[in-house]
């Protein structure tokens, strides 16, 4: 579903189209502040040593981008994505000693929270007679883990969370991240799990006010989002290790598209997901092999992201060795 790697049959997006996408996009709020926190984050994590894999930083993108249909943003097209894949993968990357930039859709699943109910505050807590707040014993361990591990990662400075909503924000922040990770060369990973819009209404041609219902049906023409993955891969951070995702509902289309994305965008790995089985298994497609990764179904709460991230870390280590050799 990625804008960046869907429609692989298409010719490369010309650079001027990419430029004009950025030039016509609404300016990113807090751009200077985001750049500053990225700089501090990268500086801190490249000077770490004890117990950390020095210099290894992964940018995990997570959740779906939206495409506004009106500038004032009443209606928009959205992509379904709970953000579970990105949130769970972030946990395993942190465990593996990586620093993580978590670029996530506002309101989607957060790291260390994927096993909690949808509304943990109202579902896990109660107020006792002495007016102390108590946790439901059933959820106590999960809640404690969520709070402590999230706090620890943020306090350690090994997890930086950056939220987005629209396709414009997503691509603008991704560009800032690539600029800050470029100097890390092969030690940086882009783990692009977000569901990025394929089609959008160019900002300049967008109506300012709410679309008024007229008599009869509504006809809409949406333009293709320029394929940014080529720019990111070849120009913004050309030495990084790249992993993109393919989600399809039709198994027949899936592997063909994964192969195409691998070649066209020179990905190091493409993770192929089929919508109905994606929590049980994924197929990891690389230049030389296709590996099916399954969750350990003998263990309660085991997630497919655990062996998946292990495999990614293994291949990333090999990649760094090869580049450094």
């Amino acid at each position: 579903m990625e804008a960046v790697d869907d429609a692989d049959q298409l010719p490369e997006t010309p650079k001027n189209e990419v430029m004009s996408f950025f030039e016509s996009a609404p300016p990113l709020k807090d751009a200077a502040e985001t750049e500053k926190s990225l700089k501090e984050f990268v500086d801190r994590n490249t000077s770490l040593s004890v117990n950390r894999k020095a210099n290894r930083v992964v940018c995990v993108t997570s959740g779906g981008t939206t495409v506004p249909l009106e500038k004032r943003y009443v209606r928009y097209i959205d992509n379904f994505a709970s953000g579970h894949r990105g949130a769970a993968s972030t946990e395993y990357f942190l465990k593996a000693g990586y620093s993580v930039i978590f670029l996530y859709r506002r309101g989607t699943c957060q790291p260390f929270c994927s096993l909690l109910p949808d509304d943990p505050l109202l579902e896990c807590f109660s107020v006792a007679d002495d007016s102390n707040i108590e946790v439901d014993p059933l959820h106590a361990e999960t809640v404690k883990r969520a709070i402590t591990e999230n706090r620890a990662a943020v306090a350690d400075g090994t997890l930086l969370k950056l939220p987005f909503t629209t396709i414009f924000e997503y691509l603008q922040i991704l560009q800032l991240i690539s600029a800050s990770l470029r100097s890390l060369g092969p030690s940086a990973i882009f783990y692009l799990a977000a569901a990025v819009s394929d089609f959008y209404v160019p900002w300049e041609s967008m109506t300012l006010h709410k679309i008024q219902s007229a008599s009869g049906p509504l006809d809409m023409r949406l333009a293709q989002v320029p394929k940014m993955l080529s720019m990111l891969r070849n120009e913004w951070a050309p030495m990084a290790f790249y992993i993109s995702f393919k989600l399809e509902t039709d198994q027949d289309i899936l592997l063909a598209k994964a192969d195409m994305a691998l070649k066209k965008y020179k990905m190091h790995m493409v993770i192929a997901n089929e919508l109905s089985t994606r929590k049980e298994e994924v197929i990891v497609v690389t230049e030389h092999e296709k590996v099916t990764v399954r969750r350990d179904s003998t263990q309660a709460g085991a997630e497919v992201e655990c062996p998946l991230v292990e495999l990614v870390v293994d291949r990333h280590s090999a990649y760094i060795k090869k580049v450094d050799a």
Copy 2:
């Protein structure tokens, strides 16, 4: 933004169009269970007396409906709505002695939680050295209030929460609610604050799998959602008290459309919201007057929903008297 009362210039939706919308919609999951909990809820709340306004039940709709573009539901069109208006209004209706059926979009703002940060679990709690969970003193009162008042309302049986995501679910559940409230006559209120889609892709003409990007732009044709408000108002629960909402980004269009909706759908009140000022003030449009309702800006945390619901309750009481006379 309501499907039910936008495009007021249009002629009434023919009944067969409404029928065919429901017939072609995907079947509602848990329909029998929803009917059962509605029946129990209405039975319980019409036999209450002490400290409650017996028989008075309000159905508050809240948040935006989605329109799937594919049956497997990867992409959809969404309407922006935090659900804050509906959640806050629910609190004030409960305080006023009403029982509330809260028909809300999954993931949107919940009653008693509107003053909390976006992610209360990660932002308000910490784990102490003795491994007890503690609340950040800054948020302690708000958190306690959210937990106790929500629990109390659900435990008392005066608050019934029913979630929806798509336009299909929303309209199907609304029909079940109207069937269960019909017998209450003028004691029932429909407070329709949800942002309902105007346009949709009819289920039958929808693609099963993900739309594949082709070369060039994507052309989409969306059909109008049949205007259900007439059916609800005139046939499903004709004696109830009706309040609908108009949200526009253009002040000039707003009042004209509110007036039109009032007349065309025989609403008792239409609440006119301008997107940029809607948290400060709204204009309540009735047959004989336009009243501007403002939040009490001299009081910290005061919400516009407090005087708004007061006004609604006042007019509802007058309506019941008039009908009963």
